[in-house]
């Protein structure tokens, strides 16, 4: 039996290698080497025909008004994937607070002699707590920079939110968040839902044309609608329509969501108790 599973793994590896060898060599334009794409009746070589990406590179700046084409693809051309992605993170935050919420239930007996793993350190040396106290504002400001400049420099909602969340992780480890865990959880989950609601209502705002339509782009420069010239340019903050707003909404949601996950996981030991009681459903 063991031999069969080894054989099948080796077999899958072999076929993956065969498949990768038949892929287009790294650096060549997309398209299969021995395949020509039908276009009506004329057979055209795939190599010099432009695909979805060439369209994005050529028209991305004109249509979405953002210099960072990846951000325009993430938030405008394929914005629905990003909405799905923010939902995935929201689901995990709800799941973890659901799975961990039996901790904060009063009717769970707190075992006195619970042989939990040795507790996290009670007190942390002065250097760590003061250092992280000073470092936290810097991390948060760098995260906000990443979120707001998503459509000019590389960055965007997810990366900025993740950097800010690593700031919370720093506070957790240096024991600066110890009391009122339940209250911070409630406030953070409110802000997370707020970020998500802003994201989806921006999608609904353009519903007259179609869902997630960038109705602010190429409009008036007052409302982030500045049209930008094609080709390399210094980049303008008020240029990409609803892109910065979506990026801000996602940044808020990712920061507060991942902070909730970290706080819940970190505080598991202090409240941990043998789960019991409750009806079998």
């Amino acid at each position: 039996m063991r031999l069969i599973s080894l054989l099948s793994v080796v077999f899958i590896a072999g076929f993956l290698l065969v498949a990768v060898m038949r892929l287009h060599p790294v650096g060549e334009p997309l398209g299969n080497r021995d395949v020509f794409r039908f276009r009506g009746d004329t057979v055209t070589d795939m190599r010099n025909v432009d695909t979805m990406d060439d369209y994005f590179l050529r028209n991305g700046q004109r249509e979405t008004g953002s210099n960072n084409i990846v951000a325009s693809v993430v938030f405008d051309y394929r914005g629905f994937d990003t909405l799905g992605e923010a939902t995935v993170l929201f689901i995990v935050v709800c799941a973890i607070s659901m799975l961990m919420s039996f901790l904060y239930n009063q009717n769970y007996v707190m075992e006195a002699n619970f042989r939990g793993p040795d507790e996290f350190p009670r007190n942390v040396s002065r250097i760590i707590s003061f250092g992280s106290f000073m470092l936290f504002p810097l991390i948060i400001s760098f995260g906000i920079y990443l979120v707001l400049h998503g459509h000019i420099s590389p960055g965007g909602g997810f990366q900025g939110g993740a950097v800010m969340a690593s700031g919370t992780a720093l506070l957790l480890i240096s024991l600066l968040i110890t009391r009122h865990v339940q209250r911070t959880k409630v406030i953070f989950s409110f802000f997370e839902s707020l970020g998500l609601t802003v994201f989806i209502s921006l999608g609904f705002a353009g519903i007259t044309a179609s869902f997630l339509y960038n109705f602010l782009a190429n409009g008036s420069p007052l409302f982030l609608g500045r049209t930008i010239p094609f080709g390399p340019n210094p980049g303008f903050l008020n240029s990409a329509g609803i892109l910065p707003l979506l990026s801000l909404a996602v940044g808020v949601e990712v920061f507060f969501g991942i902070s909730i996950i970290l706080i819940q996981l970190y505080h598991f030991t202090r409240y941990a108790s043998r789960a019991g009681g409750g009806r079998d459903i």
């Binding site: 990443l146 950097v163 970290l262």
Partner: protein, 81 residues
């Protein structure tokens, strides 16, 4: 023009980090070698002209994933029985 030598070195480091993180019996060592894997992956993404993905991989892959792995190992056993 980035000569392919850089990619060869980084690829070898990634393969070694991947196999080490699956080979160690001490879970914290696995987690550390996994964060080395994420770090080198960030450098490779940077050289593949993908700065967005590099920041995302660094911010989420190296920083936060390692953080929750360490917390999870702390809450359970350290040595793989």
């Amino acid at each position: 023009m980035i000569s392919p030598i850089i990619f060869i070195i980084l690829s070898i480091v990634i393969i070694i980090a991947a196999f080490l993180s699956l080979y160690f019996r001490d879970l914290l060592a696995c987690v550390v070698s996994f964060s080395v894997l994420s770090l080198v992956l960030t450098v490779i993404y940077f050289h593949l002209d993908a700065p967005d993905v590099a920041i995302a991989e660094a911010g989420i892959g190296a920083a936060l994933t390692t953080c929750i792995f360490v917390i999870a190992v702390k809450l359970t056993r350290r040595r793989e029985e």
